[in-house]
Amino acid sequence: MCESGDEAEWIRAAQAGDRAAFALLVERYWDRLYRWLYQLTRDRHAAEDLTQETFLKALSALGSFRPGSNFKAWVYKIGHNNFVNQKRAERRTRVPLPDDLPGSEGIEAEGSAESREALEAVSRAVAELPPDFRAALMLRVEQGMPFRDVARVLKTTEETARWRVFKARQKLMQVLSPEVLPPGKSATE
């Protein structure tokens, strides 16, 4: 059975009250959603809280999900709403918990052709992007979502989603010139 077939079955079962089926959906999407929400919040505690809140809301609102439509985009949309609500409610100048201070985020370069410094440089540049651009960019590039679904998640038009990704890439190209971006571990390109 193909992946989308499995997922459709899990959703049907979850909507009928099968919590174990919902657990399979959590297993499938938790890590990916956490990664994206981390890019938005830059705070692993906040990202984890938001991820949990998203799945709990999804569980409560399962009845409103239309079978056959894009479940991933639906969950991510809930996640983005939670993020926006949290941003509205909380002060941005709040000091993060001590183990989230800069330098202690545990960025590792294992398995990557890139050096730790290059990864950190790009990570910092992404963090500097306006939140709307960052959200769209990471949905497209890191999560592999088509522009149509990026638009759904961010509650905008496909044209605006494309534009945000374009502007984000343009900004990164300006900031991460070859002189600024440290060379990779290997010389192959």
């Binding site: 657990a23 956490y34 692993r44 949990q52 545990g106 590039v141 890439r169």
Partner: protein, 263 residues
Amino acid sequence: MNCQTIQNRVLALPDPRLLPDPLREHVNACPGCLAWWKQAARIERILAELPVPPAPADKKTALLQELSGPVIHTVPAIERRSFATRFWSVPAVRTMAGLAAAVLFAVGGWLMIRPGPGSPNIQAKPSSDPFLERIVQRDLALAQARTADQRLDVLGSLAGDLSTEAQSLSKIANPEELRDLSGMFQKVVNDGIVEQARKLPEHSLTQTQKKELLNRLSQKLLDAGRQADEAARESPPHAQPALKTISETARDGQTKLKAILGA
């Protein structure tokens, strides 16, 4: 097509690493664009593999366990209304609840009339902040309030606390600090008081009770606005904007509450 146009088209692709033929032809023929494209492709690749720190508290496992494990609650699924009714119908429970209420009143009364800070029994710790304590108490009162109207009353008091603190600090705090306080006051009035007054459930209060509540809140805002105006007259210029914000927010809040009452 010039190079800038080509580069913009590359950035607009779903994946800049995968060039359609027309763009690829130009990039291969143009050294500047080729170097530029290699950088764009490299950034795209790095973006796709940016590491993130692990989640701190393993809430995923906790949620999965909760979803997959057996339901462990031992209380039988009794329909809650009948349980509450049965609980309160027991005479001993009603007696104890009455006694508890009496104790609460006594405690509340004592707290109201207890000696002030001049008394030798009360010793303020050097670093404890009375205003912080007050705000924590307000949050606690909001947590304990069972109904929307009770919460509104506490929000009204919270707004008053913030206005008083701003006035108190108006001669000594810097403009940014005062702006923060006026910003908090605005949030409490607009997002707290006015918004919750709009959302008061229809059946929760009689028209008279609603009128009394909104008039009470209006009065609190009126007092806060007047005090801010008075403080502004005696405060240095840098404090004026924040106090003016408080005063205007209070007046605006009153207007909105009147409109809600009239609706």
